[in-house]
Amino acid sequence: MTTSSNTKTPWELLSRGILSENPIFRLALSMCPAVGISTTVMNGLMLGVAVLLVQVFSSVTISLFKNQIHPRIRIPTYTLTIATWVTVIDLVMAAYLPGAYAKMGIFIKLIVAFAIITMRLEMFACKENAADSFWDGVGMGLGFMVGMVVIGFVRELLGSGAILGYDVLGFKPLLFFILPSAGFFVVGLMMAFFNWVELVYKRRKGIQS
């Protein structure tokens, strides 16, 4: 490893994306798909994989060419890089996974406008080397995927009583959760839950010290 003293290990980069800077629950970025198509675990997983791939490819691309990009045109360069990779993923998914692609609708194409990807390029990939950018991209992508899968899990379980299409509960607790508008409620309640966990954690820590 030729990393300098202030760069982080792959594990730290990964865990940061999944936990402390989770794109959906902590940074509250890229909320549209989290509300719109997280009705099942499978949808969440598919879009998560697409975002992960776009994030990793764009991060590595920008990191490799960071010395050739003039700082004044960096934002347009990021946008075009992301757009190119989104086109690649979009065409690949349309060709090999037509069923899942039809369910995603326009959201695969809209990955191009995800704030989270541009933000990682601006804050991380344009300064660090390719290996670190790769792990940072994987971490952020996984964080997004985990968020999508968790929301999808809750909505699929409560809405249709199933996980990944397999019937687990045998009945449908609340059909409401399958409705698109329930996405707002699930995400809102989950954010409140994480806030509550944080509050309790801080209070415990305060008492101990």
């Binding site: 890229s30 549209c32 719109g36 347009p76 086109t87 809102g188 309640l189 409140a192």
Partner: protein, 312 residues
Amino acid sequence: MKILKIPLSAVFLALLLLPAWLQAADFIESAAFSGKNGIAVAFAVPVDKTAAGEVSRYTVYEENDPDIKLSLASAALGSDGRSLQLLFAEPLNSAKTHVVRVQGLGDGAELNFKVAKPYFGHLFSILVAALLINNFVFTKYLGLCVFFGTSKRKKTAKGMGVVFTIVMVASASMSWLFYQFTLIPFHLDFLQIVVFIGLVSLTVQAVDTILRKVNPVLFNSFGVYLVLVIANCVIIAVPLIMSSLNYNFLETFMLALGAGGGFLLALYLMSSVRERLELAKIPPTFKGLPIAFIVAGQFALAFLGFSGLQLF
């Protein structure tokens, strides 16, 4: 400039030809949808009653699905021999153009005409659909980052909504021209994402520069929001929807206008609620975004009530 001249004249030509396209043949005075599953036809001269009454002579299909023939239940000619009422087994989708072919009626050859909604009604229904039925925020779940970020104050919300509408209409019109006259002729439509996002960024930059020179007062109040507009999924969604549904220029314009207006409406509604929420007693865990999400969820449920709304 030379490239632009041809498309513009083509657009005007298309506009002029629209009324002609609606009235197919002189023999047919008018043809329109009547009720949920009927088509009413008025002929210029009385026609043969027995021939007009035979269901097997008619072939009816939607213009973009010629293989799916619609099953006709009855064809009844009025006592004056000029008004014909076609009744179908199933309700018709009046948003689509229908083609009716009749064998051996009138001049003896095959009669062929189209039935469509009044064109302005069609355009208006696209506008209303984008504004209310498929509101981009509450039923399509697009642009939520900006929606939650800028809906804290009514004033900001209004400014943001107006800027969004302007940019959306401008960028959608440009995207349409580019898509129809560059991407499709050269079979480059797989590049649409790259091209559309570039065009949107360019439009935002152009609006910024023009507004700064032409109306500095307006720029001072709206300029700050322009930066936020560039990479936003609502703006990029309009050209993508336009290309997937193959809209013409007027339809694209109406879609963009409706989408922008819908975004303005959503921002205004949300900011009115959030200004009041600040005075309310909210549990600390729900402060900020969580309660905003739950309010938005309630709005989304309310907007479900618009589904099925049809004015024309």
